[in-house]
């Protein structure tokens, strides 16, 4: 187990290397440069800027120096926000996205499991149908529809919660909900299916025959087996929530990392995109590792395999 873990971590290094190289190449090969502006700047100044940002000369040389800086943990300066380092941008915005994402993650996980179990428990009864219809709706509606709908309902009609912004607790509710709803819906359907399968098995009948309380049967005995697909989904889920927060962050004006990633591409802000891609990749690798570890804990057969 330990050895496997170490190998996985070591394998991450070439992966990250490839990610940085690819991002850099793609950004540099895309037409249009970071200093193309609506108002033209003198050619000499543009050259000076490219030199200051070490974006002149052959692309391979540029990459070489960039990689050297990245290896030292220096993600360089943004070409758009010219007084900001990429490290500064990431360290100010990532925690906010991570916090929001974390809440949405647990909301999706908790809510999805609960609703899925409930639907399975009430199999083929009206509440099952209603829940599953709502879940289908939740999957089908993208966050740029759900977000404004929540704002209309909770901010404009009811006046309970602010329309957006960041800093108070009230401001967390709607974005966290908007971000988690599609995943919660997906999870609910997933848990329902795997729960239905589990509930038909003999050991559940045994548990019930033992006279265990129904919630114990559901949440302890059945969920343990039914949760395996949930665990394997939670890695991609965490990644999706983290990288998919852009739309929600824009709708609710949350100063997270999402807009920097997308606008970075549009602005040809090569180092911002490079830095964020690197951080995202690291997180993805970490999530996958955690999922593998969890899986091993839940299912002993995988550990030995």
């Amino acid at each position: 187990m330990g050895q496997r873990f170490v190998i996985r971590v070591l394998l991450a290094i070439p992966t990250l290397f490839a990610v940085v190289c690819l991002t850099f190449f793609l950004m540099r090969l895309a037409p249009g440069g970071p200093f193309d502006r609506e108002k033209a700047m003198p050619e000499s100044i543009k050259r000076q800027l490219m030199a200051q940002y070490q974006l002149d000369g052959p692309v391979l040389t540029q990459l070489y120096y960039y990689l050297k800086d990245v290896a030292r943990g220096d993600l360089r300066l943004s070409t758009k926000y010219r007084n900001r380092t990429v490290n500064e941008i990431i360290s100010q915005t990532l925690p906010i996205s991570a916090f929001l994402g974390g809440i949405a993650f647990f909301l999706a996980l908790g809510g999805g499991c609960f609703l899925g179990i409930w639907a399975a428990y009430r199999h083929n009864r009206p509440s099952d149908y209603i829940l599953m219809f709502l879940a289908l709706l939740g999957i089908a509606l993208p966050s740029f529809v759900i977000g404004p709908l929540l704002i209309v309902l909770f901010s404009f009609k009811l006046g309970w919660l602010p329309v957006g912004g960041w800093g108070t607790v009230q401001q967390v509710f709607l974005p966290a909900l908007a971000l988690s709803l599609p995943y919660m819906a997906y999870l609910a359907r997933m848990v329902r299916v795997s729960m239905l399968e589990t509930l038909n098995q003999d050991y559940i009948r045994t548990a019930r025959a033992k006279g265990l309380a129904e919630w114990r049967v559901l949440y302890v005995h059945a969920l343990k087996n039914a949760a395996l697909p949930v665990v394997s989904y939670s890695g991609p889920l965490a990644a999706n929530i983290l990288t998919g927060s852009l739309v929600v962050e824009e709708i609710f004006k949350i100063p997270g990392i999402g807009p920097f990633f997308v606008n970075g591409v549009l602005n040809r802000d090569v180092f911002v995109v490079g830095g964020i891609t690197l951080v995202y990749s690291m997180l993805l690798i970490a999530f996958n590792l955690v999922v593998d570890l969890l899986y091993g804990l839940l299912d002993k057969r995988i550990q030995s395999a």
């Binding site: 003198p42 100044i45 302890v220 343990k224 549009l266």
Partner: protein, 531 residues
């Protein structure tokens, strides 16, 4: 892992989340600023020498002040300079700084501060995008290009700590306007030297304007507080101001509508779908601004190397349709590139719509009814409005001239690249004036200017522009500029002006005062007040 503990774990997480919610919902929120306004996008920088955009400019204008400053009507008046003298030939300016000009740390603002700051702007190492604002100074361009290394030969000199002498190479009637422009603002060198790139961060920045910077969280907010050392601090009525960067128009509108923000200054922050409704509301204020929407031709390629073809197309565009059916904010259609309303200048009429004449000219150029006309493309960057205008243009060309236009939309940076590489036939464009003078528009199309981007070069136009800028008599100068613009929009037509933009502001005039819609589209915060 014992089974019960996993169950407990799940419950723990749920409790944790909800407990967290309710505990911190009691946390006190910060007092609201006297004015909260929506400021388009996150400022790229707050360094006066670096910034180019309006959202940056608004904050920098609140933080810093130049030799002159604009009032709430957009008029130029004294700033750090209390008074000035202009030599009869209009070439030498002597600015006298006021005694009580101070930085926000109490230091005096000196003439040396200005001279040094201007050196910084012109120094190629600073890579200031807007250095050309100072090109009117003697030898400034050569210094900026690196052709001349000695700054002593550039036309700015501190005679003593309160007197600044400026020498221009041509009489520049709008020079006092330029002295109110952000690029010419002084910066505090001790701070700059001490903190390097970080000098503009809160807690470090030392400024000389009505406000000082107390907070700047990326993409969240900028908070300003009255600067007690400002020379007319007694006239500054809002103590605290917050600027919120909001990208999405609907989000911006939500913030305004629920009272989180008091003021929306950008047209881009207003949802286009709501425009029709909003225009009827008393808190919606619309007025023309110094900006023009136009199409440009790549005159280096056939068929647009022929002025007849360019004119034929210009004559066949139904501009009224575009502003009434597509943009719908009350934009005035135009035949001229320069918007009306500039002091001492009346722009030419330009070409009005006349498809019959257009067809005739096209036939003269050898394409009767569009026969044999090569396939041409219209380049635009993809926004909904630009796309709709492009579609309208496409059908107008087909209907009036029998020309087939293909549409090519490109992402912003790619589009800019295509423009400067002259890799297009016709391209959508817009231009925003920087100061209240026709030169800010007409200078673009002088041969080889970076903003020309049409390949158009016309000796007579260049000559008229040079003459105009050497002319000290305002009437004669206006006449020369008028002649030049007539060539641009009526005779040679490398561009087709379509409409002038309007600015749309949202604020309740019963509660917020000191804002007067003006052409230059600048609204100093120091003049605003709550009613």
């Amino acid at each position: 892992m014992p089974q019960i503990s996993r169950n407990a774990l799940l419950r723990f997480f749920l409790y944790f989340i909800f407990l967290g919610f309710f505990l911190s919902s009691c946390s006190p929120s910060k007092p609201r600023a006297d004015l909260v306004f929506i400021n388009g996008i996150e400022p790229e920088s707050l360094d006066p020498a670096i910034i180019t955009g309006q959202p940056e400019g608004r904050i920098v204008m609140a933080l810093f002040e130049g030799l002159t400053s604009r009032d709430g009507y957009g008029r130029v008046g004294p700033g750090m300079a209390e008074r000035w003298e202009i030599s009869p030939d209009g070439l030498t300016y002597r600015f006298y700084l006021r005694n009580n000009a101070r930085w926000s740390n109490g230091d005096s603002v000196t003439a040396q501060d200005f001279a040094q700051s201007w050196e910084r702007v012109l120094n190629p190492v600073t890579t200031s995008d807007y250095a050309e604002i100072l090109y009117y100074l003697e030898n400034a361009e050569a210094y900026h290009d690196g052709k001349m290394k000695d700054f002593n030969r550039v036309g700015v000199k501190a005679l003593d700590s309160q007197t600044l002498e400026v020498r221009l190479h041509d009489p520049t009637p709008f020079f006092l306007d330029l002295c109110a422009f952000v690029t010419t603002y002084p910066v505090h060198f001790p701070t700059l030297r001490r903190y390097g790139l970080d000098w503009i961060k809160p807690g470090k920045l030392v400024s000389n304007g009505a406000y000082r910077l107390t907070d700047w969280r990326i993409n969240d907010r900028i908070r300003l507080e009255k600067n007690p050392y400002y020379w007319r601090v007694d006239q500054v009525r809002l103590n605290t101001v917050e600027a919120l960067p909001i990208n999405q128009a609907t989000t911006a509108f939500n913030f305004y509508q629920t009272g989180v923000a008091d003021l929306v200054l950008d047209k881009g922050s207003i949802p286009p779908l709501l425009l029709g409704e909003l225009r009827k509301r008393p808190d919606c204020h619309i007025a023309p601004i110094l900006a023009t929407y136009f199409y440009r031709f790549n005159v280096t390629r056939p068929p647009f190397n022929n002025p007849l073809v360019r004119k034929a197309i210009a004559l066949s565009i139904d501009k009224k349709f575009i502003v009434e059916r597509i943009t719908r904010a009350g934009e005035p259609v135009t035949g001229s590139f320069t918007p009306p309303g500039l002091p001492q200048y009346q722009p030419p009429q330009g070409l009005s719509r006349d498809p019959d004449l257009g067809r005739k000219l096209l036939a003269q150029a050898g394409y009767p009814n569009g026969k044999n006309f090569p396939a041409i493309t219209l380049l635009y960057n993809k926004t909904e409005q630009d796309e709709n205008i492009a579609l309208a243009f496409q059908s107008m060309m087909k209907k009036e001239l029998g020309i087939r236009v293909e549409l090519r939309n490109q992402e912003w940076k790619v589009y800019l690249n295509s423009l400067s590489q002259l890799d297009y036939d016709i391209a959508r464009s817009s231009w925003v004036g920087d100061y209240a003078d026709p030169n800010t528009f007409l200078d673009c199309f002088v041969t080889e200017r970076g903003n020309n981007r049409t390949g158009w070069s016309f000796a007579q136009y260049d000559q008229l522009m040079t003459q105009a800028n050497q002319e000290n008599n305002p009437d004669k100068r206006a006449q020369l500029l008028h002649q030049a613009e007539t060539i641009l929009v009526e005779e040679q037509v490398p561009i087709v002006p379509i409409f002038h933009f309007v600015g749309i502001k949202l604020y309740d005039a019963n509660r917020l005062g000191g804002l007067h819609l003006n052409l230059i589209d600048e609204y100093p915060i120091r003049e605003m007040f709550r009613k």
